[in-house]
C-alpha cells in the first residue's frame, strides 16, 4: 500500500495518494475494498470446510457433542462474545474517524480495538489452559470424564435395545472429536485474531505518525472489513460450540 510510484503533485498532503496503475482515487478505493471482500469469501470457504466436518459429526452423535459442549464455560464464552462485539463497534468508529478526518479518533479507537482483541485472546488462552488441565486436549492425554462415559454408554444401544460396543466406541470418539473441532476452530479463529490485533496496532502507530495519506480511509476500511469478518465467525462459533443442548 506504499505509494512510492505516485506521480501526483499533491502526494503527502491531506489527499490520498494515487498509485500509478489506477486512473482515479475511486477506482483505487473500490479495488482495495473488493480485494478484501473476495479474500473474505475465500476465508468463509476455509471455515466452511470445518463447519462441514462439525455438522457431519454432530449429526452422527448429537449426544456426544452435547456432553462435550457441557465442559465449556458458557459465561466465559458470553463475556468473550461481548468483548468481541464491542471491539467491532470501536473498529467501526475508527473507520468513521478516518472518513471524517479525525486522526486522534482513529488512534484512540484503534488502540481500544486492539486492547479488546487482546482481552479476548487472554480469556481464550485461560479457557484453553483450563481445558488442557482437565485432560480435554485431544491426543494421548485425553480422558473422557467418567460421568460423560456413563451417559454415552447409556445411549449406545443397538436396534435390539441392547448395549452396542461399536456405537459406544463411536460415541467416545465423537466426544473427543468435538474437542478436536473446538480446539481447531477456536485456534484458527485466534490465529486470525492475532493477525488482526497486530495489524490494528501497526495501523494505530502509522496513523499516529501520520504516515497515511488522506487519513488512510481506504486502508483502515479494509482492515475494518477483516476485523468484522473475524467477529462474524465468532458469532457462529459461540452457539455452535458453547450453546448445545
Amino acid at each position: 500500500m506504499q505509494a512510492s510510484t505516485s506521480t501526483l503533485p499533491d502526494a503527502g498532503t491531506g489527499r490520498q495518494i494515487l498509485l500509478s496503475h489506477f486512473d482515479d482515487l475511486d477506482q483505487q478505493h473500490l479495488s482495495s475494498n473488493l480485494g478484501m471482500w473476495f479474500f473474505l469469501v475465500s476465508e468463509v470457504m476455509f471455515f466452511s470446510g470445518l463447519i462441514g466436518a462439525y455438522a457431519v459429526y454432530r449429526a452422527l452423535s448429537p449426544v456426544a457433542f452435547e456432553r462435550a459442549s457441557g465442559h465449556m464455560d458458557l459465561w466465559v464464552g458470553f463475556f468473550n462474545t461481548l468483548v468481541l462485539l464491542t471491539s467491532s463497534l470501536t473498529m467501526a468508529l475508527a473507520v468513521r474517524c478516518s472518513q471524517i478526518g479525525d486522526n486522534r479518533g482513529i488512534v484512540r479507537y484503534l488502540i481500544a480495538t486492539a486492547v479488546l482483541g487482546t482481552v479476548f485472546l487472554g480469556v481464550k488462552g485461560f479457557e484453553w489452559k483450563q481445558e488442557i488441565d482437565h485432560h480435554l486436549l485431544p491426543g494421548p492425554h485425553f480422558v473422557v470424564p467418567a460421568e460423560d462415559a456413563e451417559a454415552l454408554r447409556a445411549v449406545s444401544v443397538g436396534t435390539d435395545g441392547q448395549f452396542d460396543p461399536v456405537k459406544y466406541a463411536r460415541n467416545l470418539g465423537h466426544f473427543q472429536m468435538m474437542f478436536v473441532l473446538y480446539f481447531f476452530m477456536t485456534g484458527v479463529h485466534a490465529f486470525h485474531m492475532i493477525v488482526g490485533v497486530a495489524a490494528v496496532l501497526i495501523f494505530a502507530v502509522l496513523a499516529q505518525i501520520r504516515w497515511f495519506s488522506g487519513y488512510g480511509t481506504t486502508q483502515i476500511e479494509v482492515l475494518g472489513l477483516y476485523w468484522h469478518f473475524v467477529d462474524v465467525v465468532w458469532v457462529f462459533l459461540y452457539p455452535l460450540l458453547y450453546l448445545i443442548g
Binding site: D23, D24, D26, Q27, H29, L30, N33, L34, W37, F38, L40, V41, V44, M45, S48, G49, I51, G52, A55, V56, A59, L60, P62, E66, L74, F78, T81, L82, L85, T86, S88, L89, M91, A92, L93, R96, Q99, I100, T217, E221, G224, L225, H228, F229, D231, V232, V235, F236, Y238, P239, L240, L243, I244, G245
Partner: protein, 119 residues
C-alpha cells in the same frame, strides 16, 4: 478500437464515489451495537429455555446468529450502503457454504435408505 481520450469520466467506477465514502452516524452504530447485545442476551436466554427438541434449539440459536451476522455485515461492514457487487459477494459466499453443507449432509442422511450394506 483505441482512441485518445484525456479524461476518465467514462470510468465505470465513477458512481462509486458517494457509496465508498458514506459516513454512518455514530447513533446508528450505537443502535446496532445495542441490538447485537440484546441478541446476545437472547441467544443465551434461549439456551436455558427448553423448547422441546434440540433441533428447535439449534434452529433458534442459528437464526439469532444469522441475524447478528447480517447486522454486522450490513452496517459495520457498510454493505447496506455499498454497490450491488458487494451484496452479491456477501450473499454468494453464504450460498456457497450452504451448498457445501447441503450436499455433504444429503449424503450422510440418505445413507442406509436402500438397506444395502455400504450404500
Amino acid at each position: 478500437m483505441q482512441h485518445h481520450h484525456q479524461s476518465s469520466q467514462l470510468h465505470q467506477s465513477a458512481e462509486a464515489h458517494e457509496q465508498s465514502h458514506h459516513v454512518i452516524a455514530v447513533k446508528t452504530y450505537l443502535m446496532i451495537y445495542l441490538a447485537l447485545m440484546l441478541l446476545l442476551a437472547l441467544t443465551v436466554g434461549a439456551y436455558f429455555l427448553d423448547m422441546g427438541s434440540h433441533q428447535i434449539n439449534l434452529a433458534v440459536a442459528m437464526t439469532i446468529a444469522v441475524v447478528k451476522a447480517v447486522l454486522i455485515v450490513l452496517f459495520f461492514m457498510h454493505v447496506y450502503y455499498s454497490a450491488p457487487l458487494t451484496w452479491i459477494t456477501a450473499v454468494g459466499s453464504l450460498l456457497w457454504v450452504g451448498l457445501l453443507l447441503a450436499f455433504l449432509l444429503a449424503d450422510y442422511f440418505s445413507r442406509g435408505w436402500l438397506d444395502i450394506l455400504g450404500k
